[in-house]
């Protein structure tokens, strides 16, 4: 099987010759080829130049042998054209004028994905062509809740208290913001699929800050609409810190449910149901230790998945930027080799 076939089959819970692997935030990081590009170009410039972003997105396939090429495209990219002044800093996105009122929301524009983010679509076309089936192109979209948190907080935060206070105090403005983000992200997902994305992963980095009642009442319906818009391809629904709301996350949609490392993969799979594929969940902090610790962790994840059809190996969260590229290469080889199913070859 090619990498692309392997990953797409696993997303559909079909038989595979080996468990497919990719890593969240695999593009970029500490790859020497990437660092060389970074010496000459900013993160923003790379993201906005299709040739560069395509090159960076392809690197992990060439260097690590992963089965999916996730686009080098920060989830905040759509917010600029929507009228938000976002700067990507080393500590995360920073928004000059955070949203604090219904009037602020009224000034946002709906995203015209094909036009506003034409550089992403061009990059997807280049990656798809460059891969030639070696790996599947994974488009990424930020979930409305996570984007709303950034917009209201103005940057990353631990418990998103400002955003949640806004949600409680201004329920109508909150809904209006979520609706705008939902329609825009749905359009962004569809545009990426038209450009050639074969899988779409919806990232909800912060929904784990919500209890089940708020997630269900104020968030999941919006997430569900974005996922439904992307149904032409397999979708991966990833919520970080989802152990308390996992059934609701699965109910919102996704052919594959991404699992963070704060929970047991086997238990999580039981909760989302066997009719879903599952992705995860090696603790990214393990990548910073030596190989024995990484191998032990990877082995534990594979044991929990117990060779059931529909497991996509990944980290439980984004790879630390300082991860040694050699470690990722070894990990891909390890997962492929230790899960090879000869009967399919």
């Amino acid at each position: 099987m090619t990498g692309s076939e392997r990953l797409l089959a696993a997303c559909r819970r079909e038989a595979v010759d080996a468990t497919p692997v990719w890593f969240m935030r695999q593009a970029g990081g500490s790859l020497p080829r990437y660092l060389a590009i970074r010496e000459r170009h900013s993160v923003q410039a790379i993201a906005r130049t299709p040739e560069l972003s395509a090159e960076v997105s392809l690197m992990p396939v060439e260097e690590y042998g992963v089965d999916g090429a996730v686009m080098y495209a920060d989830i905040m990219l759509p917010l600029g054209p929507m009228g938000v002044d976002v700067e990507l800093t080393p500590t995360g996105p920073s928004i000059a004028a955070p949203i604090r009122s219904a009037a602020d929301i009224g000034r946002l524009r709906p995203l015209d994905a094909e036009t506003d983010l034409s550089f992403v679509m061009d990059a997807i076309r280049l990656v798809r062509r460059g891969l030639d089936g070696r790996a599947a192109v994974i488009g990424i979209v930020g979930a409305p809740f996570t984007l709303a948190c950034y917009l209201i907080e103005g940057g990353p935060s631990r418990d998103h208290v400002v955003a949640k206070a806004f949600m409680y105090r201004e329920p109508e403005a909150w809904s209006a913001l979520m609706r705008l983000l939902t329609s825009s992200m749905a359009a962004y997902a569809v545009a990426q699929i038209r450009a050639g994305a074969q899988i779409v992963q919806l990232f909800d980095s912060w929904a784990g800050a919500l209890g089940p009642r708020d997630y269900f009442n104020r968030v999941s319906l919006h997430t569900a609409q974005v996922l439904a818009a992307a149904e032409a391809v397999p979708t991966i629904h990833f919520v970080a810190g989802s152990a308390g709301i996992l059934e609701l996350v699965a109910d919102a949609g996704g052919d594959v449910i991404g699992i963070d490392s704060g929970q047991s993969l086997a238990e999580a799979w039981g909760r989302v149901g066997r009719q879903r594929a599952i992705q995860g969940n090696l603790d990214p902090a393990r990548l910073l230790g030596g190989w024995p610790a990484i191998e032990a962790g990877a082995r534990a994840v594979l044991d929990e998945a117990s060779a059931r059809a529909g497991h996509v190996f990944n980290l439980g969260h984004a790879a630390p930027r300082e991860t040694d590229p050699g470690v990722l290469r070894d990990l891909v080889a390890y997962v492929h080799e230790s899960t090879t199913r000869t009967e399919i070859q």
Binding site: R158, H160, K164, A165, Y168, A243, G244, L288, A300
Partner: protein
């Protein structure tokens, strides 16, 4: 004395569900802010009368069913030789983090009377006046170790996790020392009059079940085992630990503290043989009272009348919280759960 809190910890019948709030003493109360205009947090902890006063403020104003000793989780660390400052807006900061075998070996043995004498005196003062049980508390060794290795609070606690990977013997020795310290600290609090103990593991949610079970659980089990003979209820609270609840319960605790990221019903099903504490989202109190009320009623609905519920927030009271909301919340919980006197 109002003992519904202690009864609930033991899963005995109560006349109404007991309520207290993590960080109930602190920045949300105007009388606390008035004290803090004059003195630092360290000065409060070092002055028995002030510490007792601050501990009792929420009991008087809010009508909660338990007092919790006012101290920081890093308070005992000076007693093992750690030089630590509490910096406003940052939290505890340690100038010389503990990172090597030599650093760990240099930590002293904790002598409670010498290290936290004023705090122990405060306990006696609080007991005279409280009219409700006094909860002592301590940080769990993993969370304390994370501060010591990192030098300050950190969202992902990477420094201690890296130490666990790269120098497992050093990390294990550090956790052992901190467990010894915590045992002595907790024992001293109970001997001074604390009637229950809450162990806070604020950073434990960064760990996978695999790592928690291997690296942390054995220390927590030893800790709970070493205070079991004291005969006071123990509350084991971890933040962001929805995926670790069974392991937390396996480590110990008569009451398992639940944060707001999981429904109380789903959480309780994972720890069916324990009392449960929680779990209103503290940020729900930043909205209007009807919003907070609705959310609190939902929490009580999740309990579904089970014995052994201690109502609390899923984390500490946030600084901007209206104290009137807290007072109304206490009344609401008592009113909604009133079952008449129990014999």
């Amino acid at each position: 004395m109002n003992d519904r809190f202690l009864r609930a910890c033991r899963r005995e019948p109560v006349d109404a569900t007991p309520v207290w709030f993590m960080r109930q003493a602190g920045r949300s109360l105007p009388e606390y802010r008035a004290v803090r205009e004059r003195v630092t947090l360290a000065e409060i902890v070092g002055d028995p009368a002030l510490c007792a006063e601050v501990t009792l403020q929420p009991v008087r104003r809010l009508g909660v069913d338990a007092a919790i000793l006012f101290a920081d989780i890093t308070t005992p660390l000076a007693g093992i030789g750690v030089d630590l400052q509490i910096v406003d807006g940052v939290g505890p900061v340690i100038d010389r983090p503990v990172r090597t075998a030599e650093d760990v070996a240099a930590l002293r043995t904790f002598e409670a009377a010498e290290a936290v004498g004023p705090l122990l005196e405060a306990i006696a003062l609080i007991r005279l006046e409280a009219g409700v049980p006094l909860i002592g508390f301590a940080g769990a060794p993993f969370t304390l170790a994370s501060y010591l290795v990192e030098g300050r609070g950190s969202r992902d606690a990477l420094a201690i996790r890296r130490l666990l990977r790269d120098q497992p013997e050093v990390a294990a020795e550090l956790l052992t020392r901190l467990t010894d310290m915590t045992v002595a600290y907790v024992r001293a609090q109970v001997e001074a009059g604390a009637q229950a103990i809450q162990l806070f593991d604020s950073w434990v949610g960064v760990l996978s079940p695999f790592d928690y079970e291997r690296d942390v659980l054995p220390h927590m089990r030893r800790l709970f085992g070493a205070i079991d003979d004291l005969g006071v209820p123990t509350i084991h609270f971890g933040t962001g630990a929805s995926g670790l609840l069974r392991l937390l319960a396996a480590a110990g605790g008569d009451v398992i503290g639940i944060d707001w990221r999981i429904g109380l019903d789903a959480a309780w099903r994972q720890v069916p043989d324990r009392a449960v504490q929680g779990n209103l989202d503290p940020s729900a109190l930043l909205g209007s009272w009807p919003t907070a009320r609705e959310q609190a009623v939902w929490v009580l609905g999740e309990v579904a009348g089970r014995a052994g519920h201690v109502f609390n927030l899923g984390h500490g009271v946030l600084p901007g919280t209206d104290p009137d909301h807290l007072r109304r919340l206490v009344d609401l919980v008592h009113g909604e759960t009133a079952r008449g006197p129990v014999s």
